[in-house]
Point group: C2
Chain length 332, copies 2
C-alpha cells in the first residue's frame, strides 16, 4: 500500500485537521467529525447536511459552504458515520427553518440518518430526509437495498443548496431534492481497484485488460467484467443505460457530469466527455451545463462515471447560482 | 496500459474537443491546439499566455479565463508545443498592450517560446517572457538547464492574471512575474510512475516500499530514492529544502500549496497539508492563503508537491481577486 499517510487508523482524523487548516471559513468539530459553515446556523435558512464514509473527497466535506451544504459528517473510510455525528451536525445547522438530510442509499447511511432524524425531532428540530439512488447499474448490491446513490448526489447538493439560499421552505427544498433525484441517473466503470487504508490491500482485482462496468463507489461489483474498451465504447456502455433509464428524448436538455473516480487524469475525463457529448448529439439531447472532474471519488481508483440530469429553467438557474465551497466554487 | 482513450496518438486532440464542449466560454483552435478566452483579445489588457506539454491538467488549458491566462497552447503529452502554436496564441490574445509569455523552465519550452517571441515581435507585437524555475530539487535535469518550473507556475499564472486585469502595463506584469518567481519554491515526491500514452509503459519503476524524492513533473529523477516514509516524514522532506531555499524566517507569511500529482486522493493531500502546516508553525511562518488539490499533475502519478510563496499585501490582494477558469474559480 503506497499512501501519503501516517497510520491507517489516523487518516480521517488527520485529514480533517488539514481541512480545518486549509479552509478557515469552515469549522471542524473533531469529536463528531463534522465539517460546517463557519457561520452556521444561518437564521431562517433550511440547513442542509449530508455525510457518509470518507474516501469520496471532495464529497461531502468539500461541498460545505454558502450555496451548498451547511455541514457534512465524515465516517471512517467507506464506513457510515454514526447517528450521533449526524445529530450533532443537524443541531449545529438548525437555524429555525428545519434541516434536510441528503442521504446516499447505502444501508448503514440510511439507518443511521433515520435514527439521527428521530433523535433530532425529539429535540424539537424539524427534519426531512431524502434518499438519493441514481445509480442504474444494479438494483440491489453489497451495501444497498435498491439502487445506490452516486454522482447525482453532487448535483442534488448544489441545487438544493441554492434553493435553501433562496429561503425556500423545508418542504419545498425536500420536494426539489426528490424531483432532482427522479431526474438524474448515473453509471460508472473502474479500470483499477482502490485500497482502503485499514485493509492495506486492493478491494478487488482486475486483470490488465479488464474493466468493471457498473462499479460502485466502494469498489462493490457492477453488472459485468468486460475487456477494456476504447473511450468510445466506454462512453456508450455508460450513456446508453443512463439515457434509457432516464427516458431521454430528442429535444431534452441535460446537465452532463463526467466524474473521475480518483486515479484517472483530467485529460482522459475530457476525452470521455467529448464521447459522451457525441452520443447525446446523436440522440438529439442538448448539454446545457456540464461538470468534468473528480467530485465523488473512490480513493485512488482509476475509472469514471457519467451522470445525466434532465434540466428545466428552474434547475439551470439554481445550478448557476453562486456557490462557495472548497470543491465547487463560482459566482459572487 | 489502462486508460480511457481511443488511440494514443489521438489523446490530446480528442481531449481538446472535450474542453471545447464542456466550456463554451472558451474557444479552441484545433489546428494550433490553442485554448483561449472566448472574448480574446481583451482591449488594452496585457495578454497572458502559457503552454507546454499535455498531461499536467488542469494546467495550462484549465487556467484560461478572466483573471488568469488569455490562452494556452498544448503540446503532445510531455512534449513542448511548437513556436507556431505559441505564435498563434500570442496573436490571438494581443489586445494592444502586449503579451507576456509564462514559460516553465524546460529546454524545449524555452527555445520554442523564444522563437515565438521573435516571430511575434517581427509582426509588431510587444512580447515579454519570464521563465519559471521554482523546483529546488535539482539544479540541472533530464530536460532542463537550471531548475525546473513546477507548482509555482500555477500561482504565477493566477497572480499575473489578476495584475493584467487591473490593466497594469506589460513591463509591470512581467516584473511581478519575476518577483513572484523569486519568492516561490517547490519540491515533490512520487510514490508511483505514470504512463505516457504513446509509450504504453511506465516512465520509471519504483519498488513497493520506495519513493522518489524531488521528482519532476515528467517523471524525471529527483534527488534520491528513499524508503517510503510517513506523511510527517514526507512533509519534512519537502518543506525543509523549500523553506531553506526561500530563507523563510519567523514572522514570514506564505501561501501554502499542496499539489497532487494526479493519482493521490484528496484525503491524503489534506493530511499532508496538515503536516506541512505543523512544520511551518514550528518555524513561526503563517499560512495566510492555501491551495490543496491536483493543479499541476503528471497524468496518473501518485505523489504530491509542496509549493510555498512568500506573501505581501499586494500578492494577497491579487490572489483574492476574482478568477473564472475551469480549474480555479472564485469571486465575481
Amino acid at each position: 500500500m503506497k499512501k501519503i499517510i501516517n497510520a491507517p487508523e489516523d487518516v480521517v482524523r488527520e485529514a480533517l485537521r488539514g481541512v480545518e487548516r486549509a479552509h478557515p471559513e469552515l469549522t471542524v468539530d473533531h469529536a463528531n467529525r463534522v465539517v460546517a459553515r463557519g457561520d452556521a446556523p444561518v437564521s431562517d435558512k433550511v440547513g442542509l447536511i449530508s455525510g457518509g464514509g470518507s474516501g469520496h473527497e471532495p464529497m461531502h466535506g468539500g461541498f460545505v459552504g454558502p450555496g451548498m451544504l451547511d455541514a457534512a459528517c465524515a465516517g471512517e473510510v467507506f464506513t457510515s458515520p454514526t447517528p450521533d455525528q449526524m445529530l450533532a451536525a443537524t443541531k449545529q445547522v438548525d437555524g429555525g427553518a428545519g434541516v434536510l438530510h441528503i442521504v446516499k442509499n447505502y444501508t448503514g447511511d440510511v439507518l443511521n440518518f433515520e435514527m439521527a432524524a428521530d433523535l433530532a425531532r425529539a429535540e424539537g428540530i424539524e427534519v426531512e430526509a431524502v434518499v438519493i439512488d441514481d445509480d442504474v447499474a444494479v438494483q440491489d448490491s453489497t451495501y444497498t437495498a435498491g439502487r445506490r446513490g452516486v454522482g447525482g448526489t453532487v448535483l442534488v447538493e448544489k441545487l438544493c443548496g441554492a434553493a435553501a439560499e433562496e429561503r425556500r421552505s423545508l418542504a419545498d427544498v425536500a420536494q426539489l431534492c426528490r424531483d432532482v433525484n427522479a431526474s438524474v441517473r448515473s453509471m460508472g466503470i473502474a479500470l483499477t481497484s482502490c485500497t482502503v487504508p485499514a485493509a492495506g490491500k486492493p478491494t478487488f482485482e482486475l486483470a490488465e485488460d479488464e474493466m468493471e462496468v457498473g462499479i460502485g463507489i466502494h469498489g462493490e461489483p457492477g453488472r459485468e467484467r468486460r475487456k477494456l474498451g476504447t473511450a468510445h465504447e466506454i462512453a456508450a456502455a455508460l450513456v446508453d443505460p443512463v439515457a434509457q433509464d432516464l427516458a431521454l428524448e430528442n429535444g431534452d436538455r441535460v446537465l452532463a457530469f463526467v466524474n473521475g473516480m480518483g486515479g484517472t487524469p483530467l485529460i482522459e475525463l475530457y476525452l470521455l466527455f467529448d464521447e459522451v457529448g457525441a452520443l447525446l448529439d446523436e440522440r438529439g439531447v442538448t448539454i446545457e451545463r456540464s461538470l468534468v472532474g473528480p467530485y465523488i471519488t473512490s480513493l485512488e481508483m482509476a475509472g469514471a462515471s457519467v451522470t445525466l440530469l434532465r434540466l428545466n429553467d428552474d434547475l439551470v438557474r439554481l445550478w448557476d447560482a453562486p456557490v462557495k465551497t472548497p470543491g465547487l466554487r463560482w459566482g459572487a
